[in-house]
Symmetry: C2
Subunit: 380 residues, 2 copies
C-alpha cells in the first residue's frame, strides 16, 4: 500500500467528489487518484458522478472536471429519436484535433489534455490565444475546445486552414461542477472575448435534424472533415456525436499503420460504424462496393507499408512538430511526453522568426517490435 501524501485534505476531496473519505483513501491507495509532477491530483478512471480526467488543484482545492465522453449515434435517425426530448437541436462541427480544457488556476491560464495532464505546450498556446480577461471576468468557467492545426503534437491536421495551432471552443463549463452553459450563453461569451468556436451549422427542429445532418455529414466527409456534435440548445441533455465515413476510414488508416499500438476495439468499432451507416443510407450495391474498397484499402495498405518499412530496417514513427516561443516549453513538453509513456525523439529546434519549430518523432514501439519479431520468423 502506498503512503498517502500528508498535504492532501481527504475530507475536502470527499466533499468535492460527493463521496466518503474511505472511498477517497481507496482511490489514492490504488493510485486511481494520483499526484502529478506539478503537485496536483488526477483521477484516472470515472467514479460515480466524477469523470475520468478530473483534476484537483491542491492550492485552493479547485476542481476542473474531466470532459464527459460523448455518446455516438450508430443509426442516426433512431438515435436522435431515442436520445433527445427537446424540440430542436444545435448541430456543431466535431473537429479532429485534441480535446483541451483551459482554466484559470492560481492566476494563471493552464491547458489540460483529455487525460487531465497540464500540457506545457498547449498551455503556452492557450496563453497566447485566449485573453486573460475572460477568466478575470468569469473565474469560475472552464473553456472546453479542440486544439487543431499542423503544429499539433497529438493530431496534426492541415484541413482546417490553421497556420500553427488554434483553439476552437465548443463548450463552456463550470469549475467544480462541470455543468455546461447553454449553447447561446457560450456563443455570447465567445463573441464578447473574440474566441473562435467550432462551426455551428444551425439549430434544427428535431423532426428535420436527420435530413439536415445527413447532408452536412456527406459534405464534411467529402472535405476530409470528421463529423458533428448534436446538442440540446439548453445543454440539459447530453450531446450526441456522429461522424463521416471518410473520418472512420482515415482513423483506420492511421491505426493500421501502427497496428500493434492500438486496441483491437478501436478497429472493430470503426468497422461497425461503416456497416450501420451503409444500411441507414440504404446504399446501392455500387455504393456498398465502393465502401468495401475504401475500407479494405484503409486497413491493408497502411499495414503493408508498415511491414515493408520495417523490413527495410526503417523505424515506424509518427512525425509531429511543435512551434514554441520558448525553448523551455519544448523541454517541459519533452518531460510531459515522457510522463505519458510516449517514446519520442526531439530534433534540434529551428528558429523561425521569433519562434522555434521542433520536429518530434514519436516511436510506436509495440508495432516495431511485433513486426520485427514476425519478420524474423516468430509465429503470431
Amino acid at each position: 500500500m502506498n503512503e498517502i501524501p500528508a498535504d492532501i485534505d481527504i475530507d475536502k476531496i470527499a466533499e468535492l467528489f460527493h463521496t466518503t473519505k474511505q472511498r477517497v483513501r481507496g482511490l489514492l491507495n490504488r493510485r486511481t487518484l494520483h499526484k502529478t509532477p506539478d503537485g496536483n491530483l488526477i483521477l484516472d478512471k470515472s467514479i460515480s458522478g466524477v469523470e475520468s480526467g478530473t483534476n484537483v488543484f491542491l492550492k485552493n482545492y479547485e476542481v476542473v472536471c474531466g470532459f464527459p465522453k460523448i455518446q455516438r449515434a450508430m443509426m442516426l435517425q433512431s438515435a436522435l429519436a431515442a436520445h433527445f426530448s427537446c424540440k430542436s437541436v444545435a448541430v456543431e462541427e466535431k473537429m479532429n484535433g485534441y480535446n483541451t480544457r483551459v482554466a484559470y488556476i492560481d492566476n494563471k491560464i493552464i491547458a489540460l489534455t483529455r487525460g487531465g495532464h497540464t500540457c506545457p505546450y498547449t498551455t503556452e498556446k492557450a496563453q497566447t490565444l485566449i485573453p486573460k480577461e475572460i477568466f478575470t471576468d468569469h473565474p469560475g468557467i472552464v473553456l472546453c475546445g479542440e486544439m487543431a492545426g499542423p503544429d499539433s503534437p497529438y493530431v496534426p491536421k492541415n484541413i482546417y486552414n490553421v497556420k500553427s495551432l488554434e483553439f476552437f471552443l465548443f463548450d463552456i463549463r463550470e469549475k467544480n461542477t462541470g455543468m455546461p452553459l447553454s449553447v447561446a450563453a457560450k456563443y455570447n461569451i465567445a463573441e464578447q472575448y473574440n474566441i473562435t468556436c467550432t462551426k455551428l451549422f444551425g439549430v434544427y427542429p428535431l423532426t428535420e435534424a436527420y435530413n439536415k445532418i445527413t447532408r452536412i455529414i456527406k459534405n464534411l466527409g467529402a472535405c476530409g472533415r470528421e463529423g458533428v456534435v448534436i446538442k440540446d440548445p439548453a445543454m440539459k441533455q447530453p450531446p450526441l456525436k456522429y461522424t463521416s465515413s471518410q473520418s472512420n476510414c482515415s482513423d483506420l488508416q492511421h491505426a493500421f499503420t501502427y497496428y500493434h499500438d492500438y486496441a483491437k476495439s478501436f478497429f472493430y468499432s470503426r468497422i461497425a460504424r461503416e456497416a450501420f451507416q451503409s444500411v441507414e443510407w440504404n446504399e446501392t450495391p455500387e455504393e456498398i462496393q465502393s465502401r468495401c474498397i475504401q475500407l479494405g484499402e484503409g486497413i491493408l495498405q497502411p499495414m503493408i507499408t508498415t511491414i515493408k518499412k520495417i523490413q527495410e530496417e526503417e523505424k515506424i514513427s509518427e512525425n509531429v512538430q511543435i512551434l514554441v516561443k520558448s525553448l523551455n516549453t519544448a523541454e517541459k513538453f519533452k518531460e510531459h511526453l515522457r510522463i505519458l509513456g510516449i517514446d519520442a525523439i526531439f530534433h534540434r529546434p529551428e528558429k523561425i522568426n521569433n519562434e522555434y519549430l521542433v520536429k518530434i518523432q514519436k516511436i510506436n514501439q509495440r508495432t516495431n517490435d511485433k513486426t520485427e519479431s514476425i519478420l524474423t520468423g516468430n509465429t503470431w
Copy 2:
C-alpha cells in the same frame, strides 16, 4: 469454495499431471478442472505440461491429452527457418472441419471435441467410421483428426467431396502422455486399418519447402481450401500451420455475419495475416488492390446483410444439420449443445433411408441483441 467430489483420487491425478496434490485441489476448487455430466474430468485451461481440453476418465484414470495448439507461420520463409532444425518437412492438408480425438475408453469408442467434451453425435459417427480393431490391437492410442463434411454441426462444408461427415486422421498420439507417433508410423497404422488421412502433399527438403508450400497454398486457396500443417517427419519438433488468403477472408466473412459473437482478436489476427502474406509474396499494386477489395468485401458485406436481416425482424442464426442413426443421439446432442452454452432450435427429424436428418438453428444471441439495440437508437 466448492466441495471436491469424494470419488476423485487427488493423488492419482497429481501423479498423472506431474504436479502436487495442492495444485490439483486448487484446479478443482476453481473448477479449471471440473466434472462433466458423464462423470469424467475436463481441464479447461492449460497448466504447465498439460494441455487445455485434457480429459481424465475416472473409471481407470486414463488420460486423453488435449490437442496442442499449433503455432501459425505469418512469414512462411523465416518461420520455417526459425522453427525447424530437421532436414525435411512433411506437408499435410489442414482441413476446415472440427478437431476430434477418438479414443477407446472402457471398451467403447468415444469422440472428444477440442474442448474435451464427449460429443454424442461425433461419437456415433466415429463408431461407424473407425474399426474397433485399431483400438483392440493398440489400446494406448488416440486418433486425432478432422471431422469434415456437410452434416457437421460445428463447421459445415461442402468442399471436400464428403457425403455426410468423414473423419480425416492427422495425428496418432499416445494416451496419458500425448506423445505423437512419427508421420510414417501414423500412415502405416492408418493404411492397415483403412482409415482416411488428411492429404499428404509430400516430404520436402527444408530448403525447398518455402517454394513448394507457397505453390500448394495458392492452389488450395483457389479451391476454397484452408491450408497446410508442416511437420517434422519424426514429430520431435512441434508442427507449424499456414493458411490461404481465401480461408482468412472466408473466416472473416463468417465472423462478421455474427460480428458481436466473435472475439475482436479473431478479426484482428486474420487481417494481419493478409498483410504479411502480401508482403512475403512481394505483390504488385494490382494484386494488393484485389486483396484490399476481397478483405473489404469479406468484412462489410456480411455485416450489412446481418443488419438488414435484423431490420426486417429476422433472427440471425447459423443453420447446420446432423444425420443420425438413432434419435437418441440427436437428443443427447441437444443436451451437449446446451451444456456448451449454445442456444439452438432443433427441427423435426426427417427420415432419410435408415437415418434421420435433423436441421438445427444455432442462435447468435449477442449479435441479434447488439444489432437490435442499435437499430432502436442505442449508442455504441
